[in-house]
């Protein structure tokens, strides 16, 4: 059973024509490549923005973990220049004040309440400062992207495929 469910779904969003805004898309490609090299099953969706129908994909039988990849806005001069990952809480306990836009949590809720699935999910972000028109990244973002190896190193072994709970 474990084998069948071993697919990692990467959902990356951003605009590759707005400089650092596209860094998440790039990071997703890097992660996909690394994981494929490790013979993991990966499916990547790179989109301009999150839309509700992605929830159906997330609820797919084969998916064991969903990795959202995004750019994190940091103020210029900030020193939080690393790629960061945070586990997304299951949708029951997220804050009620959330708006109407589609964030990863909204999609989690969609997947849970519409399709009855709650895959493990992580939000991985790469810092960004420059959102001007154009391709390419700012130094800070390029620097962060060059350290994907360090980032993966710091995560638990076999991440993101850690068994969440023994479960039935």
């Amino acid at each position: 059973m474990a084998d069948r469910r071993r697919m990692i779904l990467i959902i990356a969003y951003g605009n590759s024509l707005r400089r650092d805004d596209g860094a998440g898309l790039m990071l997703a490609e890097i992660l996909e490549r690394i994981w494929k090299e490790r013979n993991l099953k990966v499916h990547r969706e790179s989109v301009h923005q999150l839309t509700p129908e992605l929830a159906e994909l997330m609820a797919g039988d084969a998916i064991s973990v969903v990795i959202f990849v995004d750019t994190r806005v940091i103020p210029p001069g900030s020193d939080s220049l690393r790629i960061e990952a945070s586990r997304l809480a299951s949708p029951e306990d997220f804050s009620p004040g959330m708006g109407h836009h589609m964030g990863p949590l909204t999609l989690m809720a969609y997947a849970r309440y519409l399709y009855g699935k709650t895959p493990d999910a992580w939000l991985v972000t790469v810092p960004g400062i420059d959102f001007d028109h154009g391709e390419g990244f700012s130094d800070a973002t390029a620097g962060a992207l060059s350290k994907v190896g360090d980032f993966l190193e710091a995560m638990p072994r076999n991440w993101p495929l850690v068994e969440s709970s023994p479960g039935p």
Binding site: E29, I30, E135, G136, F137, A142, L145
Partner: protein, 239 residues
């Protein structure tokens, strides 16, 4: 023609003595990145991507311009080489304004593909963002300096195959530019025959057919060998 034996990636191989090391490597089915090299044109040795290590030599060899020699021991892939190749591609990407998404060659671009194969996912150098014009004065083709990597394939095909020598390179260093005629708008060049060979051999979207939209150009180089075989060996390929 005499044959030499050499070692490529720990394998003993033989190659015709007048062949380039690059040819010998490729004949072994080994993939090695190249940009300025194109079968049918003279070798330039400019992009430096095909550099390899030779045992006993402190220097790296650009395989396209190195003739095979008896007893060479060659390594085509190593961490050092991959790292250098990656850096060179990053330098090229930073040098001009390579915006892929609107580019006619998006998806078919040799620079893009070399970058992808080398795993270049970000550029560690400053984007130089030069303010470069496009020359769309030619009736059928457009020259976009923003996407030019100065491989000079266009220069060479125009000179060596078409014989017109309309295209050349002016300026030096970072200011090098492909020019047409005596640096006049392409459309005013009287030597250009409009044959389009330059467009077909260009590895990027720097030269393209007028009116082409994003991802629409697919270039084919086979014609070069057909022409040359016909011209030099009188072998005509009718397919």
């Amino acid at each position: 023609m005499s044959v030499v034996t050499l070692t490529i990636n720990d394998k003993l191989v033989s190659a015709q003595a007048d062949k380039s090391l690059l040819r010998a490597i490729k004949d072994q089915g080994i993939e090695i990145p190249t940009l300025c090299h194109l079968e049918g044109l003279s070798e330039r040795g400019g992009c430096r991507l095909c550099m390899v290590e030779m045992q006993g030599s402190p220097r790296l060899l650009a395989s396209c311009v190195t003739p095979v020699q008896e007893g060479m021991v060659i390594t085509t892939h190593s961490e050092r080489l991959t790292n250098y190749r990656r850096m060179i591609v990053e330098l090229l990407l930073a040098e001009r304004n390579h915006i892929c998404c609107g580019c006619v060659m998006n998806g078919n671009c040799e620079l893009q593909s070399v970058a992808a194969k080398l795993g270049v996912d970000h550029v560690r150098y400053d984007y130089l963002c030069p303010d470069l014009p496009m020359d769309a004065s030619h009736e059928r083709y457009v020259l976009d300096h923003n996407r030019c990597i100065l491989c000079s394939r266009c220069n060479r095909v125009c000179d060596e195959v078409e014989g017109a020598h309309t295209l050349d390179t002016a300026g030096r260093g970072i200011d090098s530019r492909v020019i047409t005629g005596m640096n006049q708008p392409w459309g005013t060049s009287r030597s250009c025959t409009g044959c389009g060979k330059c467009v077909q051999v260009c590895p990027t979207g720097a030269l393209f057919k007028k009116g082409a939209t994003a991802s629409e150009m697919v270039k084919q180089h086979d014609f070069l060998l057909w022409i040359l075989d016909g011209r030099d060996k009188k072998i005509w390929r009718w397919s």
